[in-house]
């Protein structure tokens, strides 16, 4: 039998290694390392990353390189746990630091922070149990990151050509990112991070044609393919049709001039419209999918009764979902009742709407990442804050705490779905992945909250040293809601358009168009170019070419830049870089 890199012996009789102590320990340790690094980097630079792909590469390095054992599905468990521990970072740093900035953190006992966010991590996972069948098996959503990670996991057994393409993509993307960061080391700026093509082409200032030179985003588009073309079309509608028409019709205040016009239209018109479309589209999608969800539930119930030779079932029983919903309800009820002093009736209403909202928001985020890899967490947080402020009689600390539960839950749901897509492609058993995530995901919020507390004590938050841009954005949202400046009319109009679009028969159309209006054009263009290249390659060379050549190369492009962002986060934590 031909041997591949790292393959040691032919194990004819051993049971297949999947959930092993090594995989769990490695996943937790690597996830904790990424969570700590990205919490700090996120509060300084405003970005985080899931880190699944990096975890898969580290997994191969340790399982095969050092320990001389390890299987595809075992490494899948490593990346599943690592990304589950790490992913809650974004849910925490988007919300909790806002409490510190507003000086309200002492109004809530630290234990509540841990309980609310850890429960959010568990809820996100339980709520997507029935959606796995619908999104991955029935709707066949692409999940670009999940697909890229599966490509990495399968590389050692896929032959040298695929491995070569993957590494070429990785090195190219890492190198370009490194060169773009040269000014941080005091070196010349050779490759910029963005190019203003509009000024190169002498277009009017109000036409936004700035493009991010990100090979990671291009790679995401390369994997997404046709679905992403709708995002590109929506971006064109938003930036190159609506903006000029709105300007020509004189719907822009006279004091908004030049390049500010594009930002004004985006901030006050198309972005809130996009958020409304996302919501309307996902609600219509949910209604249309009810028969499929019923099939999925029935199939889940049957599958959980079917045991393998070791007495394990492939699907997590449906009572995990019921248990998750009850836990979510109880947690939100206790939090609202104890911390908010809202009275029993209002607390019950808050808990009920909160549970329903976590379910809808988890569905929406999972759908968006499934179709495009983009996750509209900040837009959904705005809606969460708006709903919760009204429900809690504008109790800001309680709203932000519950917002953190929602944020952690929805980012966890999207990550779980990406991991389950990877699992599907490598033949993992879903219940095993879901169980290890349930057992470990709560660690992430604890790590992130501890780092936030340490940063607060050491440097303070919301200053030059730790600007916490995402938390500042949330603070602005809270101020806007308290000041009555919420564009509810845009949400309703967008919601109606998104709802009708999703009835078109094109799966997820409302969500895709909404997402494209919500995203900045900066990333839509490189992403759209990737989608166009995928489509052309598929038509000219066939589907086999996509699987054999395009996917490994695109996965490499995504991993290279992601690895460099982690490296830069670590260098920042270590104090080597001063952003």
């Amino acid at each position: 039998m031909e041997r591949y890199v790292g393959q040691s012996v032919t194990k004819r009789e051993e049971s297949y290694r999947e959930v092993t102590p090594v995989a769990i320990i490695l996943g937790v340790l690597w996830g904790a390392f990424m969570a700590a690094s990205f919490t700090y980097a996120g509060m300084i630079m405003g970005f985080t990353s899931g880190g699944s792909a990096i975890a898969a590469i580290v997994g191969w390095g340790i399982l095969r390189g050092l320990l001389k054992k390890g299987t595809v599905v075992e490494n899948n468990i490593v990346q599943t746990i690592a990304s589950a521990v790490n992913i809650s970072v974004s849910g925490v740093i988007f919300t909790i630091p806002a409490l510190y900035i507003m000086g309200l953190h002492q109004e809530i006992n630290t234990l509540y922070f841990f309980l609310a966010t850890a429960a959010g991590a568990i809820l996100g996972i339980t709520f997507i149990i029935p959606l796995r069948k619908q999104m991955i098996e029935i709707d066949r959503l692409r999940f670009p990151t999940g697909t890229a990670v599966a490509t990495i996991l399968k590389t050692p057994g896929s032959g040298i050509e695929k491995a070569r393409l993957l590494f070429f993509g990785m090195i190219l993307s890492a190198l370009v990112y490194l060169i773009q960061q040269f000014p941080l080391f005091g070196l010349p700026h050779i490759i910029p991070e963005v190019v203003d093509l509009g000024s190169v082409l002498h277009l009017p200032e109000w036409i936004n044609l700035t493009i991010a030179l990100s090979l990671m985003v291009f790679g995401m588009g390369l994997i997404t393919g046709r679905n992403g073309l709708i995002v590109l079309a929506g971006g064109i509608l938003s930036y190159y049709i609506i903006t000029p028409v709105v300007k020509a019709l004189g719907w822009i205040p006279a004091d908004v001039q030049g390049s500010a016009i594009s930002g004004y239209v985006y901030g006050t018109m198309t972005r809130p419209l996009g958020i409304g479309m996302l919501l309307g589209g996902s609600i219509a999608g949910l209604i249309l999918s009810l028969p499929v969800i019923a099939v999925a539930m029935k199939s889940l119930a049957q599958a959980s009764r079917v045991k393998d030779k070791n007495g394990n079932s492939e699907e997590l029983p449906i009572y995990y979902l019921i248990g998750g919903a009850i836990l979510a309800f109880a947690l939100l009820l206790i939090t609202a009742y104890k911390l908010g002093g809202l009275g029993l009736g209002r607390s019950l209403l808050t808990a009920l709407i909160g549970v329903a909202w976590i379910f809808i928001a988890s569905l929406l985020v999972a759908m968006s990442t499934g179709m495009t890899d983009w996750s509209p967490v900040s837009g959904l947080s705005l809606v969460s804050v708006m709903i919760l402020l009204y429900l809690t009689h504008k109790n800001v600390p309680l709203t932000i705490l519950m917002g953190a539960t929602v944020g952690v839950a929805i980012s966890g749901a999207a990550d779980m779905m990406q991991d389950l897509k990877t699992g599907h492609m490598v033949g993992a058993i879903p219940s095993r992945q879901q169980k290890v995530e349930l057992l470990t995901a709560w660690l992430g919020p604890i790590i992130a909250l501890t780092v936030v507390g340490l940063i607060w004590n050491a440097y303070g938050i919301g200053n030059d040293k730790v600007p916490a841009p995402q938390a500042m954005a949330l603070k602005s949202m809270v101020d806007a809601v308290l000041g009555g400046n919420v564009p509810i009319d845009k949400f309703i109009a967008g919601g109606l358009l998104g709802f009708v679009l999703s009835l078109s028969g094109i799966p997820g159309l409302g969500v895709l168009v909404g997402l494209s209006m919500y995203l900045p054009m900066l990333y839509i263009i490189p992403y759209g170019i990737g989608c166009v290249v995928n489509e052309i390659a598929k038509r000219k060379k066939g589907y086999e070419f996509i699987v054999e050549k395009v996917l490994p190369f695109a996965a490499g492009l995504m991993v290279g830049e992601a690895a460099m962002t982690l490296l830069f986060a670590v260098l920042t934590v270590a104090g080597v870089l001063q952003p």
Binding site: E2, K133, E137, G157, S238, H424, G505
Partner: protein, 172 residues
């Protein structure tokens, strides 16, 4: 033709509706008109799609005819894999990899089945996806050198794919 007209109406309605919604405050009358045009476009589009599907089926291309063919070919290929793995496991695994790629085509081509009812589509895809996941596990197990595990899942993936084929035949 109906589908094309439907698509044009849907796009025109969306553009009009989005522009009318962008105004502060939105032009609700125009938004309502745009929603009506979009609704009419959707009805035409769906009718056109149904007619297209039926035309393809009568011509023997696309739809269930093509899907059945893909499944039958995949089943034949897996039978070859089952025989081949006894003599040349690596060749058999490569063949299995190719089968998995053709199954991706099945998933893509099955999308129009939604027109025949989302429940029907859901049942087919649930069965198909289970087969696909088991075959993926067989591929991984063989690649890792775990022959027994690979054999178990190759057999169950094959059996599940046969189930999908039966289901498709019984429902069409």
């Amino acid at each position: 033709m109906k589908k094309l007209v439907g698509n044009v109406m849907l796009t025109a309605g969306l553009i009009t509706g989005a522009i009318a919604s962008a105004r502060n405050p939105p032009l609700w009358f125009a938004v309502g008109g745009a929603l009506f045009i979009m609704g009419a476009g959707i009805v035409l589009r769906r009718q056109g799609e149904k007619e297209e599907l039926h035309r393809n089926i009568t011509k023997g291309e696309g739809g269930e005819v093509e899907l059945k063919k893909i499944l039958e070919n995949a089943l034949t290929e897996i039978e070859t894999v089952i025989k081949e793995k006894e003599t040349d496991l690596e060749k058999a695994r490569k063949r299995l990899g190719k089968v998995l790629e053709t199954l991706e085509t099945f998933a893509e081509k099955a999308q129009p089945l939604r027109i025949k009812g989302i429940k029907f589509y859901g049942e087919i895809m649930t069965s198909f996806s289970k087969a696909e996941r088991h075959l993926n596990r067989a591929w991984s197990a063989y690649a890792d050198g775990y022959i027994r595990e690979g054999d178990t899942y190759l057999e169950s993936g094959y059996a599940q794919l046969r189930e999908t084929s039966k289901l498709l035949k019984s429902k069409s």
